[in-house]
């Protein structure tokens, strides 16, 4: 049976290696808009997910002194999760996307994720229920809070109404959607990439160093503060947007407060090694843990820094954020996972690691890679941020052409690519090392069942503490309450959207053709490089026009404010250029902006718009509160075709190609021309 568990873990480990991201290295790839979601999903859910499942299954059984509740559930969880990854890898490149960052997967896959997560939860909580160790060690607390919170986040953020098998509209709109999305997005970082990895850290670092964690008290305090505070900090992704000011301030304050519990974890991990630094020579895998904790400390120092409004004004929408994120994922999650694998694999196969020298090489290459990546992106981000805001003495922009700010940082993109490549090569060294370790492992080792007595029930007097921490269920409820309070207070006000909207400014909804264009915009992942949110900052208003308002996006399911500007903001692009300009721009951006790094989209002129689906789409939107009258819904396709003809005729009259009225490009142009034209300040 132990072999079964080992085989299962081997499967997980293999799965970690399959979805590694090469897309990362190709910034100017043809379909960056579709590959980028694939990359983020693969990194977070495929790599991160499988890493934490492997670690949780391995360490929980040892901490609870009990085998997992059900092998069947373990297998269902494992294969279910791999199927979801495969489904994501197929659907995202095909363009099935909800266009919400890290939640792009369409509704059937969302449901599958929820089901698989429940399977995992049942398996895990039943194991806790049947444990032979009375106490729940602190690592288990982190696992519990992870399982509960991810379920809540995923379900709340993914409430959507299907239109067809692979198309849906989220129930939230505009600032509501932005708020819910970043409550989810921020806490995906918190409860998928932070708490489970901290839990793993609390098991594997003491294990590898063979000494107890530095301070158990500190771990309790920092656990509760982290779980309690993290959930509030989501709004820091929306600073200076049209979200209400008080919510922005709330997000900023809680983000700054997070600094303390985050560093609590880092200090606790690093000080665990106090007095055993000599182990670095004999146990080189500890280097990965030290580096991971250091990166965790750096990333969690930078996070609150970037949440300060004045810093955010400079850093938001630039590559600084990209650098910050990768210091976290590559440095913290990556290195910690590698350390765990180097620890776990030889022990599971009852052998020694194939080569410590390869491990050393992996470490130094990986470290150099992350540092190159991080430094180049921070420099690029700050450069671009400063160029965007540079204003002359006479009140005009120093760099009025957006493209100037892009061209300047292209060399840094190459440095980034090189850094990523180094990291990947280091990773491949590890794969080889682990493969050889397993291959050379003794085949016929007899498994000895270890007798474990029930412990912790009688040895320690029944103090209040062990009563609480021995009760898995009560503890879980407490953890749930901790996140629920923050979530409720953060989200509740935005659910009452009407409070923030001036009745005289209520916006006209998009026409049917514009809705079709909007779907194409989402499908191609335009939101990945273009924002639709002009911040009330002097340089942005000078560059793009009036700052965005809540009313403008009030019918947007989903919102499309974006989080990165590789290209300029589009919130006021409507009616700025003629239709033909947009047509040429999509076919070959170089014809209108010679130095553009945007890919060509020739297939938009080949594919037909799906007009028939529009009736269904509009009726779903009406159900969600968008004010369409009966006529508009019933005749949606006819109205859309009429508008498409007008645009196609205009393109033809100005010397463009003929017969485009059914093509996707026309719908997309209709949408782009509508941007900033609805809900203009009256």
């Amino acid at each position: 049976m132990i072999w079964a568990a080992a085989a299962f873990l081997f499967g997980v480990v293999a799965a970690i290696q399959i979805p590694w991201w090469p897309a990362n290295l190709n910034l100017e790839w043809i379909t960056f808009g579709r590959l980028r979601p694939l990359h983020t999903n693969a990194a977070i859910f495929a790599f991160g997910g499988n890493a934490i499942f492997a670690g949780i299954y391995h360490s929980s059984q040892r901490l609870l002194k009990a085998r997992m509740f059900s092998d069947l559930l373990s297998r269902m969880h494992f294969w279910g999760w791999q199927l979801i990854i495969v489904a994501a890898a197929i659907t995202l490149p095909l363009g099935y996307s909800q266009a919400k960052e890290y939640a792009e997967l369409e509704w059937p896959i969302d449901i599958a994720i929820a089901v698989v997560w429940v399977i995992f939860a049942v398996n895990f909580f039943m194991t806790i229920h049947r444990r032979r160790e009375k106490h729940l060690y602190v690592a288990l607390w982190f696992y519990i809070s992870t399982i509960i919170t991810v379920a809540v986040l995923h379900i709340v953020n993914s409430i959507e109404i299907p239109v067809s098998f692979m198309k849906s509209f989220p129930v939230y709109a505009g600032i509501q959607d932005a708020m819910v999305q970043w409550w989810y997005g921020h806490n995906a970082v918190a409860f998928f990439l932070t708490t489970p990895f901290l839990g793993l850290m609390y098991y594997y670092v003491p294990k590898a160093a063979n000494r107890p964690v530095y301070s158990y008290r500190l771990s309790i305090v920092h656990f509760w503060s982290l779980v309690f505070i993290y959930i509030w900090a989501g709004p820091h992704h929306l600073l200076y947007t049209s979200m209400p000011e008080w919510a922005q301030t709330l997000g900023m304050i809680f983000s700054v407060m997070l600094w303390a519990p985050s560093w609590g974890g880092m200090i606790n991990g690093l000080l665990t090694l106090k007095g055993s630094w000599n182990l670095l020579r004999t146990q080189p895998l500890l280097k990965f843990f030290v580096a991971a904790l250091t990166f965790y400390g750096m990333a969690t120092f930078e996070g609150p820094l970037l949440s300060i409004k004045s810093v955010s004004a400079l850093g938001h929408y630039t590559d600084w954020i990209i650098g910050h994120v990768h210091a976290g994922t590559l440095g913290w999650n990556g290195f910690l996972t590698f350390g765990i694998l180097y620890y776990m694999i030889p022990r599971l196969w009852k052998t020694e690691l194939y080569s410590n020298k390869l491990l050393e090489n992996h470490f130094w290459m990986g470290l150099l890679g992350v540092i190159m990546y991080y430094v180049s992106m921070v420099v690029a981000g700050i450069t671009q941020g400063l160029m965007w805001r540079a204003v002359n003495k006479d009140g005009t922009l120093v760099y009025p052409d957006f493209i100037e700010t892009v061209v300047r940082i292209i060399p840094l993109y190459w440095v980034r690519a090189l850094g990523g490549m180094l990291f990947l090569i280091g990773f491949l060294l590890m794969c080889y090392n682990i493969y050889m370790t397993i291959k050379l492992a003794p085949k016929q080792v007899k498994e000895e069942a270890v007798e474990v007595t029930r412990t912790g029930y009688n040895e320690v007097p029944g103090t209040g503490h062990r009563k609480l921490e021995g009760m898995g269920f009560v503890f879980s409820v407490l953890a749930f309450l901790a996140i629920a309070v923050g979530s409720f207070i953060e989200i509740y006000p935005t659910l009452s959207l009407h409070k923030y909207i001036t009745p005289t400014n209520v916006t006209e909804p998009y026409t049917a053709l514009e809705i079709a264009g909007r779907s194409i915009y989402q499908k191609e992942g335009c939101y990945v490089c273009h924002s639709q949110q002009i911040r009330p900052i002097v340089s942005e208003v000078l560059r793009y026009g009036n700052a965005s308002t809540i009313e403008e996006s009030m019918w947007d399911h989903p919102f499309q404010w974006g989080s990165k500007r590789t290209g300029p903001d589009l919130a006021r692009v409507g009616k700025k250029y003629p239709n033909l300009w947009h047509f040429s721009h999509m076919m070959d951006p170089r014809t209108v902006t010679p130095a553009s790094i945007m890919p060509n989209y020739p297939w938009l002129a080949d594919k037909d718009t799906d007009f028939l689906r529009l009736r269904k789409e509009l009726s779903v939107l009406r159900r969600l509160g968008v004010p369409y009258d009966d006529d508009t819904v019933v005749n949606a396709d006819g109205i859309a075709q009429k508008q498409a003809k007008e645009i196609a005729a205009d393109i033809e009259a100005n010397g463009g190609p003929k017969g485009m009225e059914k093509k996707e490009i026309i719908a997309l142009i209709a949408y782009l021309q509508a941007l900033g034209q609805k809900g203009k300040a009256q």
Binding site: M1, I2, S59, Q61, R62, L63, L64, K65, A66, R67, R130, E133, H135, Y137, V138, A139, Y202, Y203, P206, K207, N210, R211, P212, V213, Y216, R217, I220, V221, W224, S225, F228, S242, P244, E245, W246, A247, L250, A449, V450, E451, V452, T453, T455, G456, E459, V460, T463, H465, R466, A482, V485, G486, I489, Y492, P493, K499, Y500, T502, P536, A547
Partner: protein
């Protein structure tokens, strides 16, 4: 924008409750963690990953 946001925001009781919950909660955690006689218990707990016994299969 700031004025508008504040003008429409009338849920002050919510934030006050949030603050209260926070304050009380953290005081409780601190009292809990640093109460007397807990040292022995924590020493036990922190050694849990290092206990020699590995897990076994209940169904064998």
């Amino acid at each position: 924008m700031k004025q508008e946001g504040l003008k429409y925001f009338t849920d002050l009781h919510l934030t006050s409750i949030g603050l209260m919950i926070f304050f009380v909660f953290f005081i409780c955690v601190l009292v809990w963690v640093f109460r007397k006689n807990s040292k022995y218990f924590y020493n036990e707990m922190q050694n849990m990953p290092l206990k020699d016994q590995e897990f076994t299969d209940a169904r064998q």
